[in-house]
């Protein structure tokens, strides 16, 4: 009797034990993994967003830099984790909420950075910047990662935006690069008459359309207005901003953009430009490889692509065509509660420095550090744009990057609605102004 009763319980216990043991086993393995396999090495965990498949050039450069660093520091092992852009953003939030950030990782500037700094998750990097990279950054870029006078990120990329255009289509219809906004409107008219989509824009996520809006604000109201709005010095319902929003809708009325753009992602819209269905594409310099070095794009297409600066608006306050809308891309952070903080800082500085030398030539990315173009084999478009950067009178950081996540999301929604003509320019500015006001309280 007792024997009969005991057997099933023993069986059940055995089963539970085996489950528990299996659990122990796997955690035991991962624990030893994070300590570098017991060979006395320090492990720096590094998370970045350039997977081998979709960002091969960047991936290769980062890998080379890591190998160099490990060679110079045999006691340090860099453990990488790589995710695509969107997954990266998600994972970073989740890791942050459980306080498990990697030692070194990538962050965006301004509004993205702020909650992380407020949550004391990132560590200030001023000491390491002063020691290693004092005069290396293009002026104004590093400041996008600063809060209350301390810098929490070391920028890697810098992007400014241009209108890229199809030279062949322009030539076919006898069009010249526009210097003024009314010339641009004439181009739109001519292209429409010839059944070519004048410009591609994808507004599903809102930000690509915001480029048009931001440039119009810059040209109509002057280069500082959007930054002033963020800093509370001016109100979003400024007449210049209303006028810019009105101009956006009149561009829509002129059929400047492909139909249904508020349902298309940036990549889908880009397809119209790459397939030569659309003649212009307002985007940032991160697209440059597609027009110069990328092996995936046919040379015949690359040869057709040129760029021009957003034209000046007649009677507007922004009278300098060398004022750009742009902003830093990703930068590196070091986690506040990293156990290897000093080593992590050193590695991050090394990466930024090396990146500046290699990124233009090998990946076609404009780095946030100054580039010496002498003796480098570069596509003429790069040389021109690097020259533009050195003569830029102003770079206004993207409005959504400067704004808080709340206002940025609202801005994206409202831009899609503005392009889709679901709201009036007045509603557009009022709703944004209300959200900004609520925040400053």
């Amino acid at each position: 009797m007792t024997k009969k009763k005991a057997l099933p319980i023993v069986l059940a216990l055995l089963m539970m034990l085996s489950v528990a043991l299996a659990g122990c086993n796997s955690t035991g393995e991962s624990a030893s993994g994070s300590q570098g396999g017991g060979s006395g090495q320090t492990v720096i965990k590094f998370m970045h967003l350039w997977p081998e498949g979709s960002s091969n050039a960047q991936y290769t450069i980062v890998n080379e830099i890591i190998q160099d660093y490990e060679k110079q520091h045999p006691d340090i092992k860099i453990q990488t984790e790589i995710l695509g852009n969107d997954q990266y953003r998600e994972k970073l939030k989740v890791l942050a909420s459980s306080n498990e950030l990697p030692d070194v990782g990538m962050t965006w500037s301004d509004g993205f950075l702020k909650p992380y700094v407020e949550g004391q998750l990132f560590t200030p990097l001023d000491d390491v910047i002063d020691a290693n990279l004092k005069d290396n950054f293009i002026p104004g870029v590093k400041e996008s990662y600063a809060i209350d006078g301390k810098t929490y990120g070391m920028p890697l990329e810098l992007n400014i935006s241009y209108i890229f255009y199809n030279k062949e289509l322009f030539k076919k219809y006898n069009l010249q690069v526009p210097k003024t906004y009314s010339e641009l409107e004439n181009i739109v008219k001519t292209l429409n008459d010839n059944k070519v989509i004048p410009a591609a824009v994808g507004n599903k996520e809102g930000w690509p359309g915001s480029f048009w809006f931001m440039y119009l604000v810059d040209r109509i109201g002057g280069p500082t207005i959007l930054t002033d709005v963020i800093q509370g010095k001016r109100s979003f319902d400024d007449p210049a901003i209303v006028q810019a929003a009105t101009e956006v809708q009149s561009l829509v009325d002129m059929n400047t953009f492909e139909k249904g753009n508020s349902g298309l992602s940036n990549d889908e819209a880009k397809g119209y430009f790459m397939n030569e269905q659309a003649a212009m594409f307002l985007t940032a310099t991160w697209e440059l490889p597609n027009y110069t070095t990328s092996p995936d794009v046919p040379q015949a297409f690359k040869d057709k692509i040129g760029y021009f600066k957003f034209p000046l608006y007649e009677g507007g306050k922004g009278t300098d065509i060398n004022s750009y809308v742009g902003g830093p891309g990703v930068g590196l952070f070091v986690a506040e509660n990293s156990e290897v903080k000093e080593q992590a800082k050193d590695f991050a500085a090394f990466l930024v420095k090396e990146w500046g030398d290699k990124s233009v030539t090998d990946a076609g990315v404009i780095p946030a550090t100054k580039v010496d173009t002498d003796g480098k084999k570069l596509d003429p478009m790069y040389v021109e744009i690097l020259k533009d950067l050195s003569t830029a009178s102003n770079v206004t950081t993207y409005f959504d990057t400067q704004a808080s996540p709340n206002v940025a999301e609202l801005h994206h929604d409202l831009i899609a609605a503005l392009f889709g003509k679901q709201i009036t320019p007045q509603q557009f500015v009022q709703q944004t102004a209300a959200a900004l006001a609520e925040e400053s309280n």
Binding site: P8, A12, K93
Partner: protein
């Protein structure tokens, strides 16, 4: 013998059930309670939490955007429930020994095998305003301004319902098909001998016999629709300007795009309550009368 020994021993049963129970507690029930708790916090996701009582829930009740997304979810629920009738009709045809029934069953099942993201990509291409297959056809047929499926706020919701209904067809058809195949042959034979028409056999015998299955599918479809997320998230992200926002995508946007984890949790908890309420309501409405048996 061993099985019998185990099944007659209560503490052994308890021990066997325990691991699964602990897992469910840890993975499902404890997070559920925590979500309700986080819903009472002003929380950005990582910075310290601040207790604000029912503040988030109060905001929720007055949030027109939340009710709009609820309305969209309920609309989707109604659409999915109505489409159950179509699935039922199809499976009736398939179950009645027609030629090629087997092949059709497989054809209907294939969308089930695709991942939601693949389906979303596929239908985004189909709906593309200028290069998509639908508008290409419409333009070649002489339509001047074909609908902008995913960017027109008036039709985007229904444009998205189509692939959702299409996606789940195979799943419900398989369920109904299996249920119909379980209807005893003798009963139908007897009915036919008594002079029942095929229509009568279908409505008087088959339908009442599979009614319990039908009830379960109604709950599945309705609750599944209320918490529906993936296709909508990939195809429109709830846009343009919230025109296709449903409860789950609204929750995601608040928590993960705007960093309002507290408010997002409150939405998630409200979603749970609404689902529970719906399930209870349907059970209440459909338990009239006992299950039919012949």
């Amino acid at each position: 013998m061993l099985v019998k020994a185990v099944m007659s021993n209560r503490s052994a049963i308890a021990l066997y059930v325990l691991p699964a129970l602990i897992l469910i507690l840890i993975i499902i029930y404890i997070p559920l309670v925590l979500t309700g708790y986080y819903g009472m916090m002003d929380w950005k996701g990582f910075a310290p939490m601040k207790f604000i009582g029912l503040g988030n829930y109060n905001k929720l009740i007055h949030d027109s955007m939340f009710w709009k997304s609820t309305y969209h979810s309920v609309l989707l629920g109604i659409c999915s429930t109505l489409s159950l009738l179509i699935y039922l009709a199809v499976s009736m045809v398939l179950a009645s020994r027609i030629k090629g029934a087997n092949l059709f069953r497989k054809i209907y099942l294939i969308p089930m095998l695709l991942s939601s993201v693949a389906i979303a990509q596929l239908w985004s291409k189909i709906y593309d305003p200028s290069n998509g297959i639908i508008n290409h056809l419409l333009i070649s047929m002489g339509v001047q301004n074909p609908p902008l499926w995913l960017s027109d706020p008036n039709i985007v919701l229904f444009a998205i319902f189509v692939p959702i209904v299409w996606q789940y067809a195979g799943f419900y058809i398989i369920i109904y098909y299996a249920a119909l195949k379980n209807v005893p042959e003798e009963v139908m034979e007897a009915a036919t001998i008594d002079g029942a028409t095929p229509w009568q056999v279908a409505t008087r015998i088959k339908l009442p016999l599979i009614a319990p299955v039908f009830k379960v599918t109604i709950i599945l479809a309705l609750v599944g629709s209320l918490k529906y997320f993936d296709l909508i998230f990939v195809m429109t992200g709830g846009g343009p300007n919230h025109a296709s926002e449903v409860m789950a995508s609204y929750m995601y946007g608040e928590a993960f795009s705007k960093y309002n984890f507290g408010y997002g949790s409150a939405i998630g908890f409200a979603l749970l309550l609404i689902c529970l309420l719906m399930t209870w309501l349907i059970r209440k409405l459909t338990t009239s009368g006992e299950d039919v048996q012949y």
